[in-house]
Amino acid sequence: MVPLQWYLMLSAAVFTIGVFGFITRRNIIIMFMSIELMLNAVNISLVSFSHYLQDLRGQILVFFIITVAAAEAAIGLAIIIALFRNKTTAHVDDMNEMKG
């Protein structure tokens, strides 16, 4: 039997890689994919909790997370398309109109 901690460590590793990609990449699409990576890391830990605690609520939460991820991908990619229409770049450090 694999200990639950191993799955949580794997989830933490994938989440950390997602955080790294989100902070450091310049391409906005790769940043979006890093967000999906982080959501998947959470899914790993929820499914393993559900398996080890013998409770199905974790899998229901995964269901909702996938729904929210789909909605987020649709809206975020629509925002990216609207962005491309105004500026033909995918690099976040070239978008400085708001002087943030």
Partner: protein, 170 residues
Amino acid sequence: MLPKLFFGYFAAVITVLSILVVTRRNPVHSVMWMLLLFFNLASMYLFLDAEFIAAIQVIVYAGAILVLFLFVVLLLNLREELKANRFIGSWPAGLIVAAAIMVSMIFAINSFVPGPMGRYSIDYIQKETYTKVLGEVLYTEYLFPFEIASLILLIAIIGAIVLAKKRMRS
């Protein structure tokens, strides 16, 4: 021994694939590695007795969301993308932040105490069949969140159309 071997395979492949996803220069390659990552995740869910989640992972994530990503990648100017810098100038700072998050999560995991067991044991699920049990929990205990999820999807559809359509010239 065999479960640990399987877990070692999945852990190694998933970690390597996620590193490949965030570091590749070509976004199309990133999407393809992510496709492979999602299939590996789905097989790990099978390994954790979550067949329905594995199917949803393949259908929704690999089938719908990644295709959406591929369509948007087509808008990119790939030739320019292959020459530009991949990371922001101060990427070591990002590495330090990510490493700090990893260390704090390792401490949190080591002091983790599991809660009480639920009533859905493997034998119970096998007797009642998996999808039926999952549907019972989803449509009784979580009926209201389920309805809210449908509202979120409706808003996502409307928002995506409104944001992505061309402005009418009046």
